[in-house]
């Protein structure tokens, strides 16, 4: 029986090393290490610590590609083992997702009569976040051999290394040290002088190296040891690693040294065991089991594995970039992707992590205030792209689909993000009832965002409406549009929820409200304006038809029909279309109106959902990896399931099949989240109704036989199983839920079965 917990490649192809760096990335929320292949010169290495950014000479601040400690040259009888030079006889590389371990195994023929078998493991500890390690088991199959192990920390890494026009250096190596044994390198980032101390040490199992050598190569540091192996004898080398930075430590190199010493004392297997236990614990509560399609099962686990690797609950000053901790794409910046796409996963499986992610927004509120201030507004304007401090970090220019330089406007005018964050706060609060968070932190964010909208919206005296003009909505093909439905509706909702919140706080948390009102200078006058805007902001609902105009003037744009798809099943540009005129067509990049409807379906009728879904889906180019999963879910919701499964399969394979062609730049983290959402919201039919009840209306593609998943809601884990015939549902705590239209009172721990009428 094939292992459904393993994602693997069975052939070595050097051109795949770049995307495999992403697919085989390991992370624990504190740090990420790309799947660097030690036995090839062809790699794009990446080692990151969440929150460490630097700009220097780059266009915008970037998640720093730190020194790479994963280099390990293994020589046999003086020849370096190199998969691109040696004859590779047997090869497999695999991710043990259940235990969080990356493995590689192969046999190479270095020359005639000299075959070497290598099995390697690597993990980034989920137990002790500053630790990572590798284990190499090396066997000379044909005769006695001399092995030399050369372990290196390479302090010559850069960002955008494969693009000389963008290449940037972000740190200087300030010192290297012999740890006796082991090596340590301290690097200091250029702008903010953040110190990063990295240590590594190779130690033989049960034997000693004949000799250990330390080399200070200024921007590289290495430890080399040699050992003679008998024919057939397996030499096991442990490589211990530790990382500390001045973000969390006042003496990073001391702490790093202490950490690696403690790690060596604890031992590799002990740490691996604790790490694996935590992974198994995570899967016990958050796995999604699918029967009927093994590829889907593995790929779904792959996405969940990688997404959950991106964050942890210990640092409220960092969040998840669009490419996870998996690559340099988008410079590690945080987008609306995090709140809109990824937060639900964390809210409903690991709420503590969700809280930390939202605290990042609280802790960058001053940056958002500065953005507003620099744009002439009061309140807080969250950055479209955010890094360490919340200041706007979107580049002002880039390259369009024709590779021509083009001004980027998202940082200036894709303003909906501020309310996406508000939405996410309420979703978190609804699921967790975390009053401490909401009333100390969430509320301040919400009120500041309201203060921003008050300036950003303009009152149209003639029509007695409020308008928000010159924006970009979720669909980025169209810029400088007026009264984008998504934005305006979300703003309306923001004010409405803010006023509710204020009422609640007046009654239940008057002291906290008083503090905020004093701090933000809020008066009744402000609240009156909020109400006014909420009531009178322009919402483009039509009376005659259910179809909502995405923004003013959308319906007058040029129609283009999408008639063909590419080899990945994604729409191809219609013939005759000039890409520089996208702005004047009805083609959209990803769901916009439909996105809003997905976020708050209860605000619309079934007809409206269906009509807008049908209208916009066939005009969507899916040029964002976020797109297919959203349509999949909405399709299931409105009963148009013909794309549901195929969009699900595309979504879960985004990086596995590299169907955007750029997986080498990092994980499509929002797409990974979309995979979870499609399974849970779509197949699992999970939603929350207007009475704050968890509802489950599963729908499964005929291709799939059953699905089983859990969500954490109101501090209770609810487990759901569905197989076309019945829904079996259990809740940790007593809870009222809905299964399809039936309201059910679940008793703590008692399984309840609902049979489906056909």
């Amino acid at each position: 029986m094939k292992d459904l917990w393993e994602f693997s490649v069975k052939d070595y192809i050097k051109e795949d090393n770049y995307k495999n760096g992403t697919l085989f990335n390991l992370a624990n929320g504190y740090m990420g290490m790309r799947g660097y292949n030690e036995f090839s010169l062809y790699n794009n290495p990446g080692n990151y610590i969440a929150g460490i950014f630097d700009r220097s000479t780059a266009q915008v601040t970037e998640l720093v590609n730190l020194p790479n400690p994963l280099l390990m040259n293994i020589y046999v009888n003086g020849q370096k083992i190199d998969l691109d030079i040696n004859n590779v006889i047997d090869y497999q590389r695999s991710l043990d997702m259940g235990n969080g371990i990356l493995k590689e195994a192969f046999i190479v023929e270095v020359q005639k009569g000299l075959r070497v078998q290598i099995e390697s493991e690597r993990f980034v500890s989920r137990k002790n976040f500053h630790r990572w390690a590798c284990r190499y088991s090396v066997t000379a199959l044909d005769s006695e051999a001399l092995f030399v192990f050369e372990s290196i920390i390479d302090g010559g890494t850069v960002n955008s290394g494969h693009n000389p026009k963008e290449l940037s250096a972000h740190y200087k190596v300030s010192s290297v040290q012999d740890l006796k044994p082991g090596v340590m390198m301290v690097a200091i980032t250029n702008d903010k002088k953040i110190e990063i101390a990295q240590a590594s040490c190779i130690i033989l199992k049960e034997k000693k190296f004949s000799r250990l050598k330390f080399n200070d190569l200024q921007c590289r540091v290495q430890q080399a040891g040699d050992v003679i192996a008998a024919k057939g004898e397996t030499i096991v080398v442990y490589k211990f690693g530790a990382v500390y930075s001045s973000r969390e430590s006042s003496n990073a190199s001391t702490d790093c040294k202490r950490e690696i010493e403690a790690f060596i004392a604890d031992g590799y297997e002990a740490e691996l065991e604790k790490h694996s236990e935590l992974w198994q614990g995570f899967w016990n509560s958050s796995d999604i089991k699918i029967q009927g399609n093994e590829e889907a099962q593995k790929a779904l686990r792959f996405n969940i594995f990688h997404l959950s690797s991106c964050a942890y609950d210990k640092d409220p000053t960092v969040s998840i970039g669009a490419k996870g901790l998996h690559g340099e794409g988008y410079k590690g910046h945080v987008f609306w992707d995090t709140e809109t796409f990824m937060l639900p996963f964390f809210i409903y499986t690991q709420p503590q992590v969700a809280k930390a992610l939202l605290m990042y927004r609280y802790n960058t509120l001053d940056g958002a205030r500065r953005n507003a201030f620099m744009n002439g507004f009061s309140g807080a304007q969250y950055a479209w792209e955010s890094a360490d401090d919340g200041l706007e970090t979107t580049p002002k220019w880039g390259y369009d689909y024709n590779n021509k330089p083009v001004r980027i406007w998202t940082g200036d005018i894709e303003v909906h993000i501020s309310s996406d964050i508000v939405f996410s706060i309420f979703e978190y609060y609804r699921a967790t009832e975390d009053k401490d968070f909401m009333f100390k932190y969430g509320s301040e964010i919400i009120f500041e965002v309201c203060r921003f909208w008050t300036g950003r919206a303009v009152y149209n005296k003639n029509k007695d409406i409020w308008e928000i003009n010159s924006v970009i909505g979720p669909d980025e093909f169209h810029e400088h549009v007026d009264n984008n439905f998504y934005t305006n509706y979300l703003v309306k909702w923001t004010f409405s929820k803010a006023l509710e919140l204020r009422e609640k706080m007046k009654n239940e948390y008057p002291l906290e409200l008083n503090r905020i009102e004093n701090y933000l200078c809020l008066t009744e006058k402000d609240y009156a304006i909020w109400k006014n805007i909420s009531d009178k902001i322009l919402i483009n609902k039509q009376k005659e038809t259910d179809i909502i105009e995405q923004f003013e003037g959308y319906f007058d744009l040029k129609e283009y029909e999408i008639t063909s798809v590419d080899e990945n099943g994604m729409p191809q540009w219609p013939k005759g279309l000039n890409l520089s005129e996208l702005n004047s067509t009805k083609l959209i990049k990803q769901p916009d109106v439909v996105m809003l409807m997905l976020m708050m379906p209860q605000e619309f009728s079934e007809q409206e959902l269906k009509a807008n879904y049908e209208y916009y889906e066939k005009r969507t180019m899916h040029k964002s990896s976020l797109s297919p999963s959203m349509y999949s879910i909405m399709g299931m919701k409105v009963g148009d399931t013909h794309n549901a499964f195929s969009y699900f399969m595309k979504c879960i394979n985004t990086d596995i099949k590299d169907n955007q062609g750029n997986s080498l730049l990092g994980l499509h983290a929002a797409s990974s989240a979309g995979a979870w959402q499609t399974a849970v919201y779509g197949f699992g039919g999970f939603s929350i109704d207007s009475q704050d009840r968890a509802c489950f209306s599963p729908w499964l593609a005929p291709d799939l036989q059953s699905i089983e998943f859990s969500v954490v809601y109101k501090n209770s884990r609810i487990k759901v199983f569905y197989d076309h015939e019945k829904v079996v549902i259990t809740s940790e705590r007593d809870m009222q839920v809905k299964v399809y239209s039936e309201v059910i009172l679940l008793k703590s721990g008692i399984e309840c079965e609902v049979r489906i009428n056909k």
Copy 2:
């Protein structure tokens, strides 16, 4: 007609990149640059400045592998051109020996429909020694394309990079600078703080880059520029380079900057033209033309090209290491190879260079004095392996043929080198009559060496002989031998010549003699001892037979017969031989007795030459690349020519065919010199008789039709042509010479023909 001035490879094989680094090395005596291939990740780069050594953590001081300025990444439409990744359609790499230019030309298919043609040139200027340059002509064959050129100086080079057990770093990068445009890096060696400033600058011909980017990557510095090319348009990029060091400059970085600015102003083609003119001038005077075997012609020129690249006449503080300026082998140390094998080439083609090489020995005389002092002797004991200061730098241990660690004794007891140097001084003086050198510098060396021998030889009272015990002769298979014939004979000759010299100076240069006698504290008593040793030193000539015992007890050693040769035609170890017992067999590594006889044939009868040649040649393993050529020459001298041509072919192909298996470590410089000697001394039959007359007794293998060469003797260039039927000889100045047994009086510029009687 094939180009006999070109050495080329017509296929790209990445495994050959390492030895090709040697074969395609360019040097000018000041610096050497290995044939690094910009379009592959597989290289062992090497960039050296003669005289820059460093020890740091290495076993002994090493010629420093300086930062590598040759990196040039070329990207087309975002993809890096890489011969190991792209589809290589057409390929050739060649050395234009006539003009001193390295060229590479190929077409690669980067992807379907994207072919790029690249033609590159590189030269290290023979005109301005601090300059080197490249020119890249790049054409996108199929469509318009965006090219990015990324030129890098890599300050992360190390010595012994491919052997982690020996790997050593010898410098730190102290600064990088933007030359606006261009880049400069300053590195400082660890021990002696020698500064090396290297600059490079890429400039487009007739166009400008769209944009230039400078990146300070701490241990690397780079300049990148992009340019759009039309389909079929050839983009030409010049890469200018300059180097300066604190050995010759008090402000290396200022001089380097000035140099590259001047170079750019002069222009690439102008420098190349002057450089080529000098190369052509060299060949006009020093070429050897062979008819009848094109392989032999090209290979002979290859050896002469590389040997003459190793030295120039501007620096009397450096000499030629065993591996030339071509690699790290033997750490760049200077051996007897230089005086015994290479000096003749320079004496008889470029005497100014020979003088500089001998001045190195004068300028390291203090080091030799220190060696003697530390060994308990007076006078000067030249180092077996010498680097920058003349101190002994032979490692004390290494690895034997079984890869086991073994004590190396050559540095302790291979003492003949001091007299090899004396021999070379006299050979130089005999050829040039350079009294200035001999009486100011040479004499001091010679007398100091005599003072050393006085202590190193011991008087055996019982036998009333002087002995030199516990030495190693040229044959290094035997250690701690007594009264090695080569050593003793050379010492006898040294004293004899020194006493002659003293007489001459007493009469002609009394002031100089007085200075030396005061300085070295020489008295009549010393001279008496010198005479005594010269008369009574033990020389192992037998009365009964002509065969000379190589050292005391040699005849009693175990006999082993060499019965087979390997694929390179070199002897294989006899069956049953235990390599650790070589010391107790009669097998020898290279000529020892025969070597002495080659150096001073006039001291022996024809019978003695022939008998010892026959006796020792069949016991020689030729484990030194110096060996075959010496036997070839002696063979021709004694009339045993059956090996002459085959040994010649092996010798000239030592590096071309990598027949020692280690050409990746550098040029076998003495073997290259042996190639010249075999052609000139062997085929050309050139020698000097006891009356100091130039004699020519050519012998040509039947495989060859004719030979033409020149030697500079007593300030006159003598040109010789031979074709089995006649010798045609011309001298610049009036001179008496011998052709075979005939004495001829040549008139200046008048050709003289001597027909051969058959």
